[in-house]
């Protein structure tokens, strides 16, 4: 049983660290929110491991509260992202750098054009070689107004 516990704790630690790395490095607001949810998953896994070790349901009750708080957080975060996107037309978190502390050195590695365009595939229709002569289409009279 402690083997199960140890494996669970290791896996939860790995998931938590991956979520933390994603939260620190990614600049898309949505991916940052998803990384935070991944960290919540890892913590619930820890609670479930201890719940199984101790053989009672309290850890599962805590995990249900975590799911509740995660749902609240996701809803508020989505509303905030929509508001921020309407202001700046971007989901980049570094667009809101002035909300941080003043006087910090600027991160020069982040200067770049805002959109890297991917070349669209050229749109081509098949060309038929003209043959014969153009048929004469009889001119149609415009329909009378009723």
């Amino acid at each position: 049983m402690t083997a199960e516990l140890h494996n669970d704790l290791i896996v939860a630690a790995i998931l938590f660290v991956l979520g933390a790395i994603g939260f620190l490095t990614r600049r898309n607001l949505i991916v940052m929110a998803l990384s935070a949810e991944l960290m919540l998953h890892a913590v619930s896994l820890n609670l479930l491991a201890f719940s199984r070790l101790h053989g009672n349901n309290e850890g599962q009750a805590f995990a249900i509260f975590i799911v509740t708080v995660g749902a609240c957080e996701a809803g508020i975060a989505l509303a905030l992202f929509v508001a921020l996107y309407r202001r700046r037309r971007t989901l980049d978190v570094t667009a809101w750098r002035e909300l941080g502390e003043e006087g910090l050195p600027a991160d020069t590695s982040l200067e770049e054009p805002s959109i890297v365009p991917v070349a669209p595939a050229p749109l081509e229709f098949p060309h038929l070689t003209p043959a014969g002569r153009v048929p004469e289409v009889p001119k149609r009279r415009a329909p009378d107004r009723v």
Partner: protein, 265 residues
């Protein structure tokens, strides 16, 4: 040096192989991070696969129950791999889908740990609701052709990855005394009673042991009846608070969205 830390380093001198999977994982994550110059992805993928394989070899010892071992290994490795793909993918659309895969795998782990109700709730809430709304927002925000530049460049990938894997190494070393000592058919209660002071969390506190609702063995763990007894008995006020929190969050989300619309026009 602190004596506990000294003990950890003593342990490490015999088990250098345990440092291999975190090191390979660090290299894989750092390689796969989105950056300006495109590095070949295949090297990162190979490094990640090597990390997963070595981790599986060192972590999952063959135990008594083969089926649960295999299922646990499958779900755990799939969850870790899809989480790594989630944080390294350049397209937020694919990141969301990989997060859905991670959620499903973590729910498989929940099922293995006797929590069917929680697994169902997590699938419904996360994979059902949150992912769909995030996908809506991504499709709303990504009207232009191409991947946005801020998804192509990670912010300080080397420092963040190094920090994360240092934390992971510290956690693995801290959890090492809890590793199983090769006991097949181990009786849980004896192991818990005999837990040394370093494993104080393994002991069941006496107040909990005296609680009739948390007695081991009277009801199967994870049954909805027992879970409901705990939720609506001991934690009734917390449930009410959680409901109030949900109400406040929904009101707040609607207020934020509406006020931003009024400010934009």
């Amino acid at each position: 040096m602190h004596p506990a830390l000294l003990g950890q380093t003593d342990w490490l001198t015999g088990h250098e192989a345990a440092l291999l999977p975190p090191l390979l994982g660090f290299l894989a994550i750092w390689w796969l991070m989105p950056r300006a110059k495109v590095w070949p992805r295949s090297v990162g993928v190979l490094l990640g696969l090597a990390a997963l394989a070595s981790g599986a070899l060192t972590l999952f010892q063959p135990g008594a129950a083969i089926v649960s071992n295999v299922l646990f290994a499958f779900f755990a490795l799939a969850a870790i791999a899809s989480a790594a793909l989630m944080i390294t993918n350049r397209n937020p659309l694919y990141s969301s889908l990989w997060f859905a895969v991670t959620t499903l795998c973590v729910c498989g782990l929940y099922l293995l740990r006797a929590a069917p109700y929680l697994a169902a709730a997590t699938v419904i809430v996360y994979a059902g609701a949150i992912i769909v709304t995030f996908l809506f927002l991504i499709m709303l925000a990504q009207q232009a052709v191409g991947v946005a530049a801020y998804d192509q460049r990670a912010r300080q990938p080397l420092a963040a990855t190094l920090l994360g894997f240092l934390v992971l190494g510290g956690l693995i070393c801290a959890l090492r005394p809890w590793a199983p000592v090769a006991t097949a058919g181990e009786v849980l209660t004896e192991a818990v009673e005999a837990a040394p002071a370093s494993q104080a969390l393994l002991r069941i506190p006496p107040a909990l042991a005296a609680d009739p609702f948390s007695q081991r063995g009277d009801r199967p763990l994870g049954e909805v009846r027992g879970l409901g007894r705990v939720l609506f008995g001991k934690y009734l006020y917390a449930v009410e608070l959680a409901g109030t929190l949900l109400l406040a969050a929904s009101i707040g989300a609607i207020a934020i969205a509406l006020s931003s619309r009024r400010g934009a026009t």
